[in-house]
Amino acid sequence: MSITRLLTSLLFVIAMAFTPLAAAQQEDPGVALLNDLATASPREVEAAIKAIANSGDERARSWLEAFGSNRLSIIKDSGKIVVVLNNRGRDWTIADALTSENLGEISRRKLDRININNAMRRQLEGTLAMLDLYADNPDLQAQAGKDLLGKVDEALVEPLTEFLAQDRPRAVTNRVEQALAIYRVEQLGDIEAVDVLAGSLHSRARAALNSAVTSDDPALAGKARIALESVEQKLKLNRAAETLYFGLSLGSVLVLAAIGLAITFGVMGVINMAHGELIMLGAYTTWGMQQLLPGQPGLALILSIPAGFLVAALAGVAIERSVIQFLKGRPLETLLATFGISLILQQLVRTVISPLNRTVITPEWMSGSLIINDALSLTLNRLYVLAFALLVFAALMLIMRKTRLGLEVRAVTQNRAMARSMGIRATRVDVMTFALGSGVAGLAGVALSQLTNVGPNLGQNYIIDSFMVVVFGGVGNLWGTLVAGLTLGTLNQLLEPWAGAVLAKIVVLVFIILFIQKRPRGLFPQKGRAAEG
């Protein structure tokens, strides 16, 4: 927020908090404030924070934020207090905390950090939230109100009641009331406050009520219990919705990972064991992109969608030309050869890039979650992946149904010899198909880089699942893959709560094995004499 707005908001703080410091404005008061903070014992820190907040100094906020992100340090010999601008590596860039002039690099050895721990951070967040409440930016205010939940202590009670006195947007005051109510219920065992919290789905509010239930005041306990039961039903619904979402999102991951395989395997009967590594390539492309465009993870991510596709597709073509074309009609051999390739690709990544996992940054707009209500929120990154998966699927469907390539591909799947005789260049189709399948794998990699490790083993973790999905869905049938993926995902997530993660996975695998016994050709088998034998 701009300095002016900060100032206006600070005025209120000054108005209500009586502070000798604010009055006496001789030489820079920051020195004293910061030194207090630096030397404060854990017990005194709170006071020091409040002092800074109430000092009305326009630098207060930046100091507190620096403190919060653990970037306030003291230069050992000079005792000067500085803000660390870049704390990577062994030499850190610092700036003067008071004048905020850049002091260049300095060895870590020469710095003493002013440490903060979670307890302090809570108070800090409370205080900062107080400041934000007065920002005339509704979102900020709402957020601040939310942050205050469970962070209210008696120091804040008075200012907050003040705050409520003035007329403010409902959204904000609701929160503040709740925040106060939580404080009252927890600290004072105030029965009236329970009404305020009744009906709230927010975990913090329920936490307060839960603790009230166990209190020795029967009246309070009873009231709290009723308040809790009133939301029980809502919660159940939300939980169900949540589980469903989890299932779909896991399913979408499976679909993404498998759909490329569905194409290569389904159309060409090629068991591409290197499929996982193609996914890995996609993920590494994302990482590479972010290295090329430092500071713009979002843009990099978007660019790596086409890039990942290309890289994987080219790799696919290379594999097809160099190995698979020699193994026509020998699916089991392709399985072995491609497995060899997967080993090579993995080791290549290990030696060329690093055996360690790579950091792929999640852009702002993809982190956090979409809040439906206090009890139900959908994690954004998975939401995007889900959407992406459906998008990719739709695109593939289009290609298969509407384009010349798709037509030829289907022709080749149905009856290779016949298609050939009708002048379709089967080899070309093969290359194109394989490239397409591989490219899609690359896309899966790009998506996965937002969910899991980007490392040499990335592919290994998905290859078996992918095969399961394809076989379960029915080879050569994209719809099958979609349905299978989503089904297995949901099944897994439904089982997990009571079976545990490991058992759930096992159960799903066994289920697939048995299913294949019943329907050897999966959910949507290809019928007719062509498929026989």
């Binding site: 992100s69 653990n70 704390n87 590596g89 062994r90 050895r109 440490n115 721990n117 979670n118 307890a119 951070r121 967040e125 975990s203 913090r204 329920r206 936490a207 307060a208 009520l209 839960n210 603790s211 009230a212 239930v213 166990t214 949540e242 989890f246 999102s249 896991l250 991951v253 290990r350 055996p355 360690l356 996992n357 790579r358 950091t359 792929v360 940054i361 999640t362 982190s367 956090g368 979650s369 929120s377 994690t379 954004l380 990154n381 998975r382 969910l451 899991t452 490790n453 980007v454 490392g455 083993n457 973790n461 897994n492 997530q493 997990e496 709560p497 545990g500 993660a501 490991v502 996975k505």
Partner: protein, 435 residues
């Protein structure tokens, strides 16, 4: 035909190695390095191999020990547990090494153990582990549960005021044992059964949605809740990601991890993790000159400005110096002599204190609690006033409550039962091995 050929090859190769190792005595002191350089564990173990090479190089530069140079013998067990045993045998029987530094995973140690004992070798094991073991031939320079888990829990309980506990771990022996210990410990501290939630996941688990939302739910019961994580390696990234996205912030539900170090963090976007905790005996961020020097050397040696150091590396640093001390003290590299000499040896650690080898072959360590920073480092927020001695046998497990280990003569027993006042199986076992 080929069977015979390959056999011949085998023999010739063998003859070679033998003729090499005939001159073992009074040549250089051979230091075996038994860390996976390929396979899944290569991620963690390669760094330890390099650490050893660095330390040896340094020692040689300073003139070696007893006027003899040190010669590293590196083998690759390729993250394959039976191969660990095989390679250990190779090191001891073929290469005739004087000491081995190696292993990371529990299972690899378990698979090596019988070989080391049979051939009476020396093994320095640098990783925090589940305890419940004390071998005459193994020196545990990593943390035992009482040097990591218990203090961490104490911190959460006393400083942060946690009353409700989630024990989440990967399903293998270290988390299992640690959680068993913590469970008993917490109950002794008066925590109710209902306030403890235990959850196990497979290796490399990547879908944490359900578990994290369970944790959230568990945490909304009105008591301060914390997660004690023994989640291993790769599974951590998606776990923390999910935490961040589902809005579980360190100030609501802090996570204290025992297996997440600087190296693991180097693969994570630590933004959303700031404030979560880890318990170790060493942090790269520790403010001591010994540490800064070590980091400088490491950066120089690995020729990578971003290179990070971590707890097991410090363990090797300590173990190696202890071995050198002991050899000097004993005046020989003879295994039995060194075994006796090393007990009581104390060398400086990297956190500005001293580490001493205890009679139970564990060492004394300070316990540090650190908060994750946005730069992938930890900032120490709490630390034990003095160092803690490693406890081979936990006091919180029924089976081992009455067991102690003391390898000093005359007791020299790995599992002495104080109740029955007799040594457990190992003694008889030594007798067998001795034959």
């Amino acid at each position: 035909m080929n069977a015979k050929k390959s056999l011949k090859l085998g023999l010739s190769a063998l003859a070679l190695t033998v003729s090499l190792s005939v001159t073992a005595q009074e040549g250089p002191i051979k230091v075996g390095i038994l860390h996976s350089l390929s396979g899944t564990m290569a991620i963690s173990e390669t760094a330890l191999k390099d650490t050893m090479l660095m330390l040896i190089e340094k020692q040689n530069a300073e003139g070696g020990v007893l006027g003899r140079q040190l010669e590293p013998v590196v083998v690759d067990p390729a993250s394959n547990w039976p191969l660990f045993a095989e390679k250990a045998r190779e090191l001891l029987a073929q290469e005739k090494v004087d000491v081995i530094f190696g292993n990371w995973t529990s299972v690899s140690r378990k698979s090596v153990l019988p070989v080391i004992e049979e051939l009476n070798g020396l093994l320095f094991y640098p990783v925090q582990y589940e305890g419940e073991e004390s071998s005459e031939n193994v020196f545990y320079t990593g943390a035992a549960p009482n040097q990591q888990a218990i203090p961490a829990v104490d911190y959460l309980m006393n400083t942060i005021g946690v009353e409700r506990w989630v024990l989440a771990g990967t399903d293998y022996v270290y988390p299992r044992t640690t959680n068993k210990i913590l469970e008993t410990y917490l109950k002794d501290q008066g925590v109710a059964e209902a306030d403890i939630m235990i959850n196990y996941t497979p290796f490399g688990h990547s879908d944490w949605q359900n578990i994290v939302s369970d944790i959230k739910r568990f945490g909304s019961a009105g008591k301060k809740t914390a997660v004690v994580s023994t989640i291993n390696g790769d599974a951590n990234v998606p776990f923390y990601r999910e935490l961040g996205n589902q809005g579980v912030s360190a100030s609501d539900i802090p996570v204290v991890a025992f297996s997440v170090g600087e190296q693991e963090l180097s693969g994570i976007d630590t933004g959303p993790l700031v404030g979560h905790l880890a318990a170790w005996n060493y942090f790269m961020s520790v403010d001591s000159d010994a540490n800064y020097d070590f980091i400088d050397e490491w950066v120089k040696f690995s020729q990578d400005d971003e290179a990070v150091t971590n707890d097991p590396m410090e363990a090797h640093y300590i173990g190696f110096n202890m071995y050198i001390e002991a050899v000097n003290k004993a005046g020989t590299t003879d295994v039995d002599a060194v075994k006796d000499a090393i007990i009581g040896v104390s060398v400086p650690n990297l956190t500005g204190g001293y580490a001493t080898m205890m009679p139970n072959h564990h060492i004394t360590k300070p316990v540090l609690i650190g908060e994750i920073q946005d730069n992938g480092q930890f900032s120490t927020v709490w630390q034990t006033p003095s160092t803690v001695a490693g406890d081979a046998w936990s006091d919180f497990l029924p089976g081992s409550r009455d067991l102690i280990a003391d390898w000093r003569k005359p007791m020299s027993c790995g599992n002495f039962n104080v109740k029955e006042g007799k040594c457990g199986a190992s003694a008889g076992e030594q007798a067998l091995a001795a034959e």
